[in-house]
């Protein structure tokens, strides 16, 4: 029998995934700042502490470097920690343990160990929290061999990819856009996984491939729906995993549409768009391109506090519509 499907918010889907993982495997536990009685800064852990107790839902002191390191050490020695950063920006305080330790330990010890740690990073702008609480740093971690980096865009994927991350023997970094937490969508009950390393074609089309990540998947879909009326037929790919990247899905799509645009919230230069563009340019899809590749990303600035400025520095639906129209009509 098929599992019942209900509407859950993205945050509820993650919470359900963590509860299932803890029910299934007593090695799984949660660590983070204010994830217990407070329920997490974004209420993702919610009331899990009531169900699983303070031994498995652990409030850490405000010690990101130490906390992340403790999670790495526990993972190295048989446990399955899920570590929540209160904001992805605070990964900067824990870079040492993530980049030098978690990512490299298996390699440095010649395959004798593995580090099955899951880290969750509430990311992105749009909440008025200004420059130190709004960044999109996923490409930083995407640059590090040994880590897997994912960005689920829907409640369905948030649950399935978290469960895949817990089952994965290597460190998996999950970037969750804060504005997605309240977004609802269909989520099957019970255990299922969504594979890490596999992109998803959210909308099929002939004229242009948009490769988007996280919240930009939704904005790209809105733009595609708007452009349908103008006879422009857009394919939207949700990249879902930025390391290891699903190259083939993108290449096949570009061979079909002959045009490529990348849309992501992080600062435009030296980011995911650069990687996807270069990857396509290096591939057999290059010969199929009818137009220059376009990247829409965040402006070259920290995120400003003022709400109008804050909106202006990341791609919005009208920006995607305008850029996609120009690209398809050959205006560029």
């Amino acid at each position: 029998m098929d599992a019942m499907v209900r509407e859950l918010s993205y945050a509820q889907a993650i919470q359900e995934a963590m509860a299932i993982a803890m029910d299934m495997d007593e090695r799984v536990f949660l660590m983070g700042e204010d994830i217990g009685v407070y329920g997490g800064a974004f209420q993702v852990t919610g009331d899990l502490v009531d169900r699983f107790g303070t031994e498995r839902v652990i409030d850490t002191p405000i010690s990101e470097l130490g906390g992340a390191g403790v999670a790495v050490g526990a993972a190295l020695t048989g446990m399955r920690p899920i570590f929540e950063f209160q904001f992805s920006d605070f990964a900067t305080l824990a870079m040492e343990q993530i980049v030098n330790q978690a990512a490299k330990m298996r390699f440095m010890l010649g395959g004798e160990v593995s580090v099955p740690v899951v880290m969750r990073f509430p990311a992105g702008s749009g909440t008025g929290a200004a420059a130190q609480h709004s960044q999109s740093l996923e490409a930083w971690l995407g640059h590090v061999p040994g880590l897997k980096v994912i960005q689920p865009a829907t409640p369905h994927d948030a649950k399935g990819m978290l469960l895949a991350a817990v089952a994965d023997p290597d460190p998996v970094m999950i970037f969750e856009h804060k504005l997605l937490y309240k977004v609802k969508g269909p989520v099957p009950e019970g255990y299922y996984t969504v594979p890490i390393g596999k992109a998803d074609i959210r909308r099929e089309g002939r004229d242009l491939t948009i490769v988007a990540t996280s919240i930009m998947v939704h904005k790209a879909l809105d733009a595609a729906a708007a452009l349908e009326a103008e006879g422009i037929d857009i394919e939207v790919i949700d990249l879902r995993t930025i390391r290891p990247m699903d190259k083939q899905t993108v290449i096949d799509s570009v061979k079909k549409t002959s045009r490529l645009m990348c849309v992501y919230e992080a600062v435009k230069t030296l980011g995911i768009g650069a990687e996807v563009s270069a990857m396509v340019a290096e591939s057999e899809a290059f010969d199929y391109l009818d137009a220059p590749i376009v990247r829409l990303g965040g402006a070259e600035t920290p995120i400003p506090y003022n709400p109008e400025l804050e909106k202006a520095v990341v791609p919005q639906v009208p920006d995607i519509i305008a850029a996609a129209r120009d690209l398809v009509k050959g205006v560029r």
């Binding site: 700042e33 329920g39 002191p61 405000i62 305080l93 200004a130 130190q132 070259e300 506090y305 003022n306």
Partner: protein
């Protein structure tokens, strides 16, 4: 001023520190500023509720004596680094509330030209190097400012404000050690309000008093009742003297309490109503100071009324100023990322 109390004010020898050290006018000005902090934050809170301010904010209501007491002995060009709960520090160091409101409203007339908001409120002209969105982020920066002061022989001292939660960040320990080794003119001020967000110090910190951490870095560690202005100011005065004399840093732990939730999203499930109520009605720092001033004859009811009225006008004017100020142009998103060069 009533005759009996005037006699006390004239004979100050047995009064607590601040009443011996500062003039009546200075002390009344302290009360004025405590009210200014309180009403500023109430005004900001109300503007937030009415949708005029976006994002979030961390109110220091209940901690006014700590901010004022620490800043009391500082000179205008002495410097501070502040925290996410930094409105009180900003006002105590001399900021104008109208430019703070303007910042909260995202306007170009704000201290950070609308780019920073509550969590990055600053007043560089008055020596406030900024609030900080990163817990513990300002502590090493204060040590760096103190290193500048020493190398440039400016005679400045630097105060670093931070919360109890910050004492578990590596930055705290690394910064204190360097400040002590290099005998820098810096004062570390831990405003211990019992909780880092929802986590009590008992659950987060292995020792009872954060001031005890000072021993590990060979500096004096002082505990004060952060709700009693005179106690805080006296400890700060001594630490500032020490720092200016080249004797190195002090760690002051100012024990206090925040009346409001951590931020705008707090369900307050980690502390009891009774606890909050107790601090609000029995240990409110403004009430305590006001009572002392009255008792010692430095002010009467009319004087207090006058201060409250003046503060109310200043707050109303500040909000009007902020509303009427221009928003930044969306074409200017690239400003201030790098230093403009001719």
């Amino acid at each position: 001023m009533a005759g009996a109390s005037k006699a006390v004010a004239d004979n100050r020898a047995n009064l607590p520190f601040v009443y011996r050290q500062y003039s009546a006018e200075q002390l009344r000005n302290v009360l004025h500023k405590m009210y200014l902090i309180r009403r500023f934050e109430e005004g900001a809170e109300e503007s937030y509720t009415r949708g005029l301010i976006h994002g979030t904010m961390h109110l220091s209501i209940g901690q006014e004596a700590s901010a004022m007491g620490i800043c009391m002995p500082l000179a205008e060009d002495d410097q501070i680094t502040s925290t996410h709960r930094g409105h009180g520090h900003c006002i105590a160091k001399g900021a104008e509330v109208k430019r703070m409101f303007a910042e909260f409203f995202g306007k170009t007339t704000g201290y950070c030209k609308g780019r920073g908001g509550s969590m990055h409120i600053a007043d560089v002209g008055k020596g406030n190097l900024g609030a900080n969105g990163i817990v513990g982020g300002g502590i090493p920066i204060a040590v760096g400012a103190a290193l500048s002061a020493k190398m440039m022989k400016t005679g400045k001292v630097v105060v670093s404000f931070f919360g109890d939660g910050a004492n578990n960040e590596g930055a705290f320990h690394e910064a204190l050690n360097m400040a002590a080794v290099w005998k820098l003119p810096v004062i570390f001020v831990c405003e211990n309000n019992g909780y880092g967000m929802s986590t009590s110090t008992a659950r987060s910190t292995a020792i009872k008093n954060i001031a005890e951490r000072a021993a590990a870095y060979s500096m004096p560690g002082v505990i004060v009742n952060g709700n009693i202005f005179s106690e805080v100011a006296e400890a700060s005065y001594k630490a500032v003297e020490c720092a200016r004399a080249g004797e190195g840093p002090t760690l002051i732990e100012s024990k206090t309490y925040r009346h409001r939730g951590h931020s705008k999203s707090d369900r307050n499930r980690y502390r009891s109503k009774e606890e909050i109520e107790d601090w609000m009605s029995n240990r409110d720092p403004i009430t305590l100071f006001e009572n002392e001033l009255r008792e010692f004859g430095f002010i009467d009811d009319k004087g207090i009324e006058a201060i409250r009225d003046a503060v109310a006008r200043e707050i109303a004017d500040g909000i009007e100023f902020a509303k009427a100020s221009p928003s930044p142009d969306v074409c200017d998103t690239g400003n201030y990322v790098y230093t403009e060069q001719a």
